[in-house]
Each structure stands twice: as structure tokens, then as C-alpha cells.
């Protein structure tokens, strides 16, 4: 049997709505109690909880093996931090259980429990013991911590005088020198400058290479891909996928691009532009009748839009992006050959025809925008995604996305 170190089974967390909102006052509770006898109160309370309660996590199951670096991704509010809190014993699960083999160290925030009036030295001991280190252990690692944080000259100054960089380096230094078997890290890389982030990554890498198990939450997908072999994707409090990082991240990104309704982009909030026109739907299809988009497919991009009045001097652009690198594969601009009429009707469609984009197999995003009279009317980054399949007659050595983004037809021969 694989050496499992974290086993999460059926974990759920329900917040009673009252808890999450304003705290109660004693007065309110007493008045409520006085209004109803105790028994009825209990039944009533349970009924209200069932109605108003909100499940931050529901039926979460996964395992982490020894020595693994497991990523945890998901949108904001999906429940990642709640899960970490449960694993760190800060909050209790409502259902299910977690089994942990080994000491757990949590890094949920940099500089946990630092007291501003105390010196760096005192805070190392204070924060270290709060994170679970014994004094003897801190003594042993003291110099290493100070060296990592680069604060030797400022050891005895109160922490409130530290620059934000020093503060964070110290916070991370202390936590990084914990030696738990299991390390839980929550978006620590979100703060700090590049130098700091590099240091953190390097240290986590080192910790992982010593065989410790890490559960790493981050929005920084590049970091996740670089450090984690497997990843859990949490969406809306439930596990949307567990598996090799590459696949999971791909699925996660694809879902954020095209949420519940693939075609109706009307509701998308993350757009730029002055709003005088609005892209409502985008479709891409092969024009040779193939149901599937292939490397050798001629394609047609259809953009449906709506506007309050006709769009004068319109310009429409679109680009295909590679999902992993975010690089632009190819771009299309109506301005190049001035092909659109001087005025577009207020509501309608615009089509872009591509004879042979020759995209290598893989997932692509489409970003697009509409200009009106030189101003950006509407722009959407990664409006939808689509998959490109290999050509039916492709050889086994056909060009792959790993190497290049497009597969340009070419011919090799002996020189003349």
C-alpha cells in the first residue's frame, strides 16, 4: 500500500449563516430564548440552520502520499482556505474526518503572531513556539533563521521598525524552518516582491526534496506546476478533480474561461472597454464540415455582439492564446485589410475566416475586442477555450504543442 500521509474522507464544513455575518449580542440571544421555551427552540434552530446554513465544503475526499507536493487550486471562495484550516485544526469539520500521519506545520500567513513592540529576536522565539517549535529547536536553528531572513543587523530592533520586506522574510524564515512531516502552505507567495517569492519557492523545493509532504495552495499556477506533482481542484466547496498537475490545471483554467454557459458572454464581468458595444457570444468551428477542430481545419470565428446604436468606424480583433504559456499563437485584425464596412449595425454578427491556422493539438483560448471610432468598446480576455485535435492523417512525429504553437507545412530534401 502506498504510504499515505493525509487522508481526507467526506469532509464537509457548514457555516450557520448567523455566524458568518454579524456576531450575536447577548441581548438578542436572551430575547430569543425568552420568547420560546427551550425544546421548541432547539428544533426551530436546527430547521433554520438547515435552511440558512451554507456549506463551504462538501464531501471532500483525497489522499496525499508521503513525499508528495500536492497543489490545491480553485477560485476565490471555493473553500481552499477552509480546507487548510480544518487540516490545521483551527476550525472543526461538520462532517467527515481527516487522518494525519505525522506532525503538521501550517504556514497560513506570514508573520503570524508577530508582536510589533518586540524585537526580531524575541519574535523568532514567540512566533516559533506558536508554530510548534520547542525552545531548544529554535535555539538550534536561530542562526539559520536569521541568515535566511537577512536581518542580522536588526535582530534587536522592534519589529515595527522593519520594512515590509524584512517583516515577510522573517515570517517566512521562521515557518520555513519548522520541521514537520506535513507542511501546509496557503498562498504565501501572493505577497512580497519577486526576490521574496523566489526565496520561498527555493525553500519549499528544498523542503520537498527532503521527503516532506507539502500541501500548497496558490493562485500562482506557474508555481503550482513547477512544484507540485499532483493537484486537487476545489470548486464551490467540492472536489472538481484530483490528478496530475498538468491535467488538473488545464481543466481548471478551461473552466474559468468558459464558466457555466459556454456561449453567453453577456454576463461576464471581467471585461474592459467603454461598454458602448458588448460581445455576447463567440463560437469557433471548422468550415470543412468536420465536427472537431483539427490542425488542418479551416476555421470560422463568429462574434455576436449588441450595442445601443450602430458602431461607426469599427475594428474587431481576436487572438488565439496557448493556455499554458499564455503566448499568442496568432492574431486577427479587421483593420489590416480594412474589410469591415464603415458602420456596423447595432446588433449583429461578425465573422472571421481562417483558411489554415495550423494550430498544434492542444487547448487554446480566444481573446477578442471591438473598437468603435478608435476607442475600445469591449474587450474580453480568454473569452472561450477550444481544443484542437491532430489531423486525421497526422504521422506519429507530427508537431506537438510542447515544441511549437503552430504546425507550418514544410518539406525537407537534399540540397541542390
Amino acid at each position: 500500500m502506498e504510504d499515505v500521509v493525509i487522508k481526507v474522507e467526506g469532509i464537509g464544513k457548514r457555516y450557520k449563516v448567523a455566524q458568518r455575518e454579524a456576531y450575536q449580542t447577548l441581548r438578542e440571544t436572551l430575547v430569543r430564548q425568552a420568547k420560546a421555551p427551550l425544546q421548541w427552540m432547539r428544533k426551530n434552530r436546527e430547521a433554520t440552520e438547515k435552511k440558512n446554513g451554507y456549506w463551504a465544503l462538501r464531501d471532500v475526499n483525497f489522499e496525499v502520499r508521503r513525499g508528495e507536493v500536492m497543489g490545491l487550486v480553485g477560485r476565490n471562495g471555493a473553500g481552499k482556505s477552509t480546507l487548510l484550516k480544518i487540516l490545521s485544526r483551527i476550525t472543526e469539520p461538520t462532517t467527515g474526518h481527516v487522518d494525519l500521519w505525522g506532525r503538521v506545520g501550517s504556514l497560513l500567513e506570514v508573520g503570524t503572531g508577530f508582536h510589533n513592540e518586540l524585537s526580531g529576536r524575541d519574535n523568532i522565539y514567540f512566533s516559533g513556539s506558536m508554530l510548534g517549535m520547542r525552545k531548544a529547536e529554535i535555539d538550534r536553528k536561530f542562526d539559520e533563521i536569521v541568515a535566511f531572513a537577512e536581518i542580522d543587523r536588526f535582530l534587536d530592533t522592534p519589529v515595527k521598525r522593519y520594512s515590509s520586506g524584512m517583516y515577510m522574510r522573517l515570517g517566512f524564515a521562521i515557518a520555513a524552518h519548522l520541521e514537520p512531516e506535513i507542511l501546509l502552505v496557503d498562498e504565501v507567495l501572493a505577497v512580497g516582491d519577486t526576490a521574496f517569492q523566489k526565496k520561498c519557492m527555493g525553500k519549499m523545493d528544498e523542503v520537498a526534496s527532503h521527503g516532506r509532504t507539502i500541501l500548497f495552495v496558490s493562485h500562482n499556477l506557474a508555481a503550482i506546476q513547477s512544484l507540485c506533482q499532483r493537484t486537487v481542484w476545489i470548486d464551490g466547496g467540492q472536489v472538481a478533480g484530483v490528478g496530475p498537475t498538468r491535467d488538473i490545471v488545464e481543466n481548471y483554467l478551461a473552466s474559468s474561461a468558459s464558466k457555466s454557459d459556454t456561449d453567453d458572454l453577456r454576463e461576464r464581468q471581467d471585461r474592459t472597454g467603454d461598454g458602448t458595444a458588448r460581445i455576447t457570444a463567440v463560437t469557433i468551428e471548422a468550415t470543412d464540415g468536420s465536427p472537431v477542430l483539427r490542425t488542418n481545419s479551416p476555421m470560422k470565428l463568429t462574434i455576436t455582439y449588441e450595442a445601443a446604436k450602430p458602431i461607426d468606424r469599427p475594428r474587431v480583433w481576436a487572438e488565439f492564446q496557448d493556455y499554458a504559456s499564455r503566448k499568442v499563437i496568432c492574431a486577427f485584425d479587421s483593420q489590416i485589410n480594412d474589410e469591415l464596412p464603415g458602420e456596423l449595425p447595432a446588433n449583429g454578427k461578425v465573422e472571421c475566416l481562417m483558411e489554415s491556422p495550423r494550430l498544434t493539438p492542444g487547448r487554446c483560448f480566444i481573446s477578442l475586442g471591438i473598437f468603435r471610432n478608435g476607442h475600445t468598446a469591449d474587450e474580453l480576455e480568454r473569452a472561450i477555450s477550444f481544443d484542437v485535435e491532430p489531423a486525421e492523417t497526422a504521422s506519429s512525429h507530427a508537431m506537438t504543442r510542447q515544441w511549437a504553437l503552430t504546425d507550418v507545412p514544410h518539406k525537407w530534401r537534399i540540397g541542390e
Binding site: 504510504d3 487522508k7 457555516y15 455566524q19 458568518r20 456576531y23 450575536q24 449580542t25 447577548l26 441581548r27 508521503r66 513525499g67 508528495e68 507536493v69 484550516k85 480544518i86 487540516l87 490545521s88 485544526r89 483551527i90 476550525t91 472543526e92 469539520p93 461538520t94 462532517t95 474526518h97 481527516v98 487522518d99 494525519l100 505525522g102 501550517s106 497560513l108 500567513e109 503570524t112 503572531g113 508582536h115 513592540e117 518586540l118 514567540f126 513556539s129 506558536m130 508554530l131 520547542r134 525552545k135 512531516e181 519557492m201 523545493d205 520537498a208 526534496s209 527532503h210 521527503g211 516532506r212 506557474a222 508555481a223 506546476q225 513547477s226 512544484l227 506533482q229 498537475t245 498538468r246
Partner: protein, 299 residues
């Protein structure tokens, strides 16, 4: 963004490195995290594990308190002294209570003020301790009992300073403690238990119901009157002594006065009081432990 680690299979490497951590731990019982229902006992072993944290927090509070204040140590002495003077003038002389005491009134008052100050200080500090530490309660795990417990040291240190002043005061009035002084540690512990007990109740309640914070000063005021600081215990008629004794501080102060001044040995009120204190503590501990699981969610 590569730090030299490739995406390829790590499992071989980690198998090799298992020897760094140690042999595979077959048969080691895992720690299980799951919902707890109902009343939970105190995990003494865990508290012991975190004893260093308790010490650090207590010492830190002490350092911070004495670092920043202008008065610092002096405040621990000035406060009871001034109170004693004011009480002597108004309650002692003008209200005539000093006629009811056999020993010098100022000494009686000051003797009671020591445990009272310990109690009221610890009470106020611990009742706000959880809410004030909201930011770490949501970020780190450690036994939550550590927080109100760590507020007690400061009160104790203050007590020590004012104790010295008490001895000086007693010498001035020519009162010397008898063999009963050996019982002083008992009542000191009782005072701390009373403070902790009330502190636990209030700190837990404060997390769940934030208006408790505003009730506390009022509570302390009333409690002072109900406690025999400005007057001797026998001010209360005999038949009501048992009810009066429900106040934990009655037992503490009665005992203090007995230990230090050799005053009347404890009557029924003190026995009731001690019992009440212990029950309050046990109740407080259980309530705290039961509510503990909701702290991070509610705070």
C-alpha cells in the same frame, strides 16, 4: 518559471529519500480530526506540550507592559495605595466603618485590595484576551486555553510588588503576621482560580456575544461592592453569610485577612465561597472547551 525541478516522476526520488526521514512508519496510529460533539475534557498533555508557548506569551505580556508605560512598576503600588487612602477617608472615617474593625482600618483594606486587584485585573485582561487575539486564532493552532491563562502572570507580578508594600504598611502599624501566614499561598492560589474561572467564562462568552465586553467594567464595579474590601465580612448579618459566601472573593479575602493579620478564622461563608470557586472553575473549563471549536468561525 523553473527552479530546476522537472515535472517528471518524483516518486523514485522520494522513495530514495525516505531514508532521510526514517523507516516507513507502519502501524503508527494517525491523528484523526473530526467533529466533536458535546462536552470535551481538558487535554492536559497538549497543554503541557505547549507550556513553552504559555511561558513566552506570559513573559511577552509582562515585557510589553513594563516597557511602554511611564509608571510601569510604580503603578502596581500606586493604585492600591491611593485606593486605600480614599477608602480610609470615605468608608473608614466618614462612614464610620473603622469603628467595626479591631485591626487598623487601612491595613484591613489594603490587605483585601491585593487579592482584589489580582482578581479584577486578571478578569478584565482574560475576558478580552480571545477577542484581542482574533488574528492568531484564525491562523495558528494551539490550545486556546493558553490565551486566557497567559494573562495571569502580569497580575501576579503586580501582586508581588504590592505585597511588599503591604508588609511595610503592616510594620508601620505594628502588626506582625503569625503562623497563619503559611496559609497565604493557599489563598493566593484560590484567588488565581477565582480569576481564571470568571475569566474563562467571560472570554468565551465575549467571543460569541460581543456586548459582554461592555458589561465587564460594570460587573467589576458591582463586584467590588459585593466583596468585603472596604468592610469586614462580619458586616453581613450571620443568617445571610451563606448567601454572601457564594461570591468567590469572599473566601479569598477572608482567608487573606486570616493568613496575614491573624484575624477571625473562616466561618461558613468561606467554606461556601471556596466550593463556589471550584465549581465555577470546573464549569468555566467545560464551557470554554465546548465553545472552543466555534471560536475561529465566529471571531
Amino acid at each position: 518559471m523553473s527552479s530546476g525541478v522537472t515535472q517528471t516522476d518524483h516518486s523514485v526520488e522520494s522513495l530514495k529519500l525516505n531514508s532521510v526521514i526514517g523507516p516507513r512508519k507502519f502501524g503508527i496510529a494517525p491523528r484523526r480530526i473530526q467533529a466533536r460533539k458535546g462536552w470535551v475534557g481538558i487535554d492536559f498533555r497538549e497543554l503541557w506540550e505547549f507550556r513553552e508557548l504559555l511561558a513566552f506569551r506570559a513573559i511577552r505580556d509582562l515585557k510589553v507592559r513594563y516597557k511602554q508605560t511611564v509608571f510601569g512598576v510604580a503603578w502596581a503600588i500606586i493604585q492600591p495605595l491611593l485606593t486605600m487612602i480614599v477608602f480610609t477617608i470615605f468608608f473608614g472615617r466618614l462612614a464610620g466603618i473603622d469603628k467595626q474593625t479591631t485591626i487598623a482600618y487601612p491595613v484591613i483594606v489594603f490587605c483585601a485590595l491585593l487579592p482584589w486587584q489580582l482578581f479584577s485585573y486578571c478578569l478584565v485582561q482574560s475576558s478580552n484576551s480571545l477577542v484581542d487575539n482574533a488574528h492568531i486564532l484564525t491562523k495558528v493552532y494551539f490550545p486556546r486555553l493558553v490565551i486566557p491563562l497567559s494573562t495571569m502572570l502580569c497580575g501576579l507580578v503586580d501582586f508581588c510588588f504590592s505585597f511588599v508594600v503591604l508588609l511595610l504598611l503592616m510594620a508601620y502599624y505594628g502588626i506582625y503576621p503569625g503562623p497563619t501566614i503559611l496559609l497565604l499561598p493557599v489563598f493566593l492560589v484560590l484567588a488565581m482560580i477565582a480569576a481564571l474561572a470568571v475569566g474563562l467564562w467571560l472570554s468565551a462568552l465575549n467571543v460569541l456575544y460581543r456586548d459582554v465586553r461592555y458589561v465587564v467594567p460594570f460587573l467589576v464595579q458591582l463586584w467590588l461592592v459585593v466583596t468585603p474590601v472596604a468592610y469586614p465580612i462580619n458586616l453581613v448579618p450571620e443568617k445571610w453569610q451563606w448567601l454572601y459566601g457564594l461570591n468567590p472573593m469572599v473566601g479569598v479575602i477572608g482567608g487573606f485577612r486570616w493568613a496575614m493579620l491573624g484575624e477571625s478564622p473562616p466561618g461558613s461563608s468561606i467554606i461556601v465561597s471556596t466550593l463556589a470557586t471550584v465549581l465555577l472553575l470546573i464549569g468555566g473549563l467545560f464551557y470554554f472547551r465546548r465553545m472552543e471549536r466555534r471560536f475561529a468561525d465566529v471571531i
